[in-house]
């Protein structure tokens, strides 16, 4: 079986977010970049399936400029066989989905994260599914393959659903689908020589245009209330914050 795992290259979850160039560009100075945490679950599940199913290959794909290569190499170190980088700035979901769809044909399973933690749209899997005419599901908490059938547990508001579909399929993953994998020394060494193909993007007309970024207004100071005077909190929530 051939599995494609799409990974985003995103700021570490503890990063402070700032912008430069009149709030039109992300300020990457001092920021550590990682494989999107949900994409890491997708990758871990792909490796599990590969280990359990002889003849399975795992390809990782990223839409990004050359600075994403250390992140792609990390995915190779975790156990992917080869990688594709579409050499372009991931400007919006539609653009990313268009590029992924160009390369996803021929894979039985396309795994992604439930959402990227920069754009947070949670839609690239649905868009790719639509572009390729394949079913898509997200957020998938459990995924088991039986022949050409896939059984999944999907989280919905306030609960979950058991869902079945046929391969080929696109899925957006989240915990507890698999345990995050940490690269070992052998993985890191072998990742250096695994194939990483760089391809130019397919030309597309932009459907959205970023104008600028904004940061939320700073938070006011906290008011501390004594634990002996809990009634005062209730009064303040009612009369001052007006939330009760």
């Amino acid at each position: 079986m051939k599995i494609l795992v799409c990974i985003s290259h995103v700021p570490d979850t503890t990063s402070k977010i700032n912008f430069v160039d009149n709030n039109t560009k992300f300020d990457s100075s001092g920021v550590q970049f990682i494989i999107g945490p949900y994409d890491d679950y997708a990758l871990a599940r792909a490796i599990e399936i590969k280990e359990a199913t002889p003849g399975t290959t795992v390809t990782v794909l990223n839409v990004g400029l050359a600075d994403t290569e250390p992140t792609i190499r990390k995915a190779l170190a975790i156990g992917a066989d080869d990688a594709i980088r579409v050499n372009a700035e991931p400007t919006d979901s539609f653009f990313v989905a268009t590029q992924i769809a160009e390369h996803a044909k021929g894979y039985e399973l396309v795994l992604m994260g439930r959402e990227s933690i920069d754009y947070n749209s949670g839609v690239v899997h649905a868009m790719v599914g639509e572009m390729l005419g394949l079913p898509s599901a997200s957020p998938v908490m459990k995924l088991d393959i039986d022949g050409t059938k896939v059984k999944m547990t999907i989280e919905i508001e306030g609960g979950k659903e058991e869902v079945e579909a046929n391969l080929p399929l696109v899925a957006g993953c989240q915990e507890p689908i698999a345990e995050w994998k940490i690269p070992n020394m052998r993985g890191i060494m072998s990742a250096r020589t695994k194939p990483l193909k760089v391809v130019e993007p397919k030309a597309t007309e932009a459907t959205t245009l970023l104008q600028k970024f904004e940061l939320p207004p700073p938070k006011g100071a906290v008011q501390m209330i004594s634990s002996d005077n809990v009634a005062e909190l209730v009064t303040k929530l009612k009369n001052e914050a007006k939330v009760l």
Binding site: T13, T14, I17, P37, S93, F94, I117, D118, Y119, N120, S121, V123, A126, M127, G129, E130, M131, P135, S136, A137, S138, P139, K151, E155, I156, E157, G158, G159, K160, E161, E162, V163, E164, A165, Q174, E175, T207, T208, L209, L210, Q211, F213, E214, L215, P216, K219, G220, V222, Q223, M224, I225, S227, A231, L233, V234, L237, K238, A241, V243, L244
Partner: protein, 318 residues
């Protein structure tokens, strides 16, 4: 400009987030048609007029009862065509967001999810989106003539307008090929207030020491008609169900009031609560980072403070 709004029904009732979507569309000042898929209570469907819909299409076909994303996508695409709608508005949800994205692909529309306020149409059509898990916003122009917008909670207030809608039975032709996934079963907390939609959330962390101590938190939640949430380790350890886990890798909430009990306030947790209007933190450690993100704080033992708070609210409510 005609706008179509997809309205979700859960347990026979219209989702509050969908009412917000109808009000959002109405505030854009155009003619609003709402569409309800699957069996639903007639009075509920009709009530959409009271939130600003001029017309409601109701496709009551029982085959639409289980929400299959591809099927809903086709029906909404057709409805946009039938209604000559240029814009589709809906609320972000596990169903709505992927359906919106697929309709956008099918219709060649510009798409934006997590939209937090009304569009600015003074020059082009610009929406404001929440990005970086609530740590920032982006202003994005939707360039194509057709647009699909998935809104975040509180993008508009669900306000009654006193209007009335014409309800039309909408008949659909469903294609077997669209039933490309099968929902075998679903397990859903019934009667509870849904966490993503709740106006008040009471959330507990590892400081509560074990699942057996959740009763004090549930008492408080019940008194406040609040939903309950938790931190990631709490759901990882199985003290609480996964769908209650709030934060960067869990549910992002946007209530009026978020009460955090025994949660340290790690940045990944804060990422899920930073859209709350007011945050109250109860923690026995005065240096817990959460206090820096709070509006009100109490330093104290949860087992002492929480029951006192519940009693004080009951007393204040008379």
């Amino acid at each position: 400009m005609a706008i179509l709004v997809f309205v979700e029904v859960a347990e026979g009732k219209i989702r509050k987030s969908s009412l917000e979507a109808v009000c959002y569309a109405q505030a854009m000042g155009d003619s609003v048609t709402a569409i309800v898929l699957g069996p639903a209570d007639a009075a509920e469907v009709k009530s959409l007029g009271n939130y600003g819909a001029k017309k409601v299409l109701h496709a009551a076909d029982p085959k639409l009862e289980k929400p299959i994303i591809q099927v809903y996508t086709s029906v909404l695409t057709k409805a946009m065509e039938d209604e000559k709608a240029d814009i589709l508005v809906l609320a972000n949800s596990s169903l709505g967001t992927p359906v919106a994205a697929k309709v956008a692909i099918k219709t060649g529309a510009s798409f934006a999810a997590n939209v937090v306020e009304l569009p600015n149409t003074s020059a082009g059509f610009v929406v404001k989106r929440s990005i970086y898990t609530g740590k920032a916003f982006s202003l994005v122009e939707l360039k194509n003539a057709k647009k699909v917008i998935a809104i975040k909670k509180n993008a508009a207030e669900a306000k009654e307008t006193g209007g009335a809608a014409e309800v039309v039975n909408y008949s659909v032709t469903l294609s077997d090929a669209d039933f490309n996934t099968t929902i075998l079963s679903s397990e859903k907390a019934t009667g509870d207030i849904l966490l993503p939609e709740a106006e008040i959330v009471v959330s507990g962390g590892r400081g509560l020491k074990g699942p057996e101590h959740w009763a004090i938190l549930e008492d408080l939640a019940k008194t406040l008609h609040a939903a309950t949430g938790c931190s990631k380790p709490v759901s990882d350890m199985g003290w609480r169900p996964h769908h209650e886990h709030v934060g960067q890798t869990g549910v992002k909430v946007a209530p009026q009031l978020y009460i955090a009990i025994g949660i340290s306030g790690a940045i990944q947790h804060l990422a899920g609560v930073n859209s709350s209007k007011c945050i109250v933190v109860i923690n026995k450690d005065a240096d817990a980072p959460f206090f820096k993100a709070a509006d009100y704080g109490i330093v104290g033992d949860a087992f002492d403070v929480v029951p006192k708070l519940t009693a004080a609210i009951k007393a204040a409510n008379g």
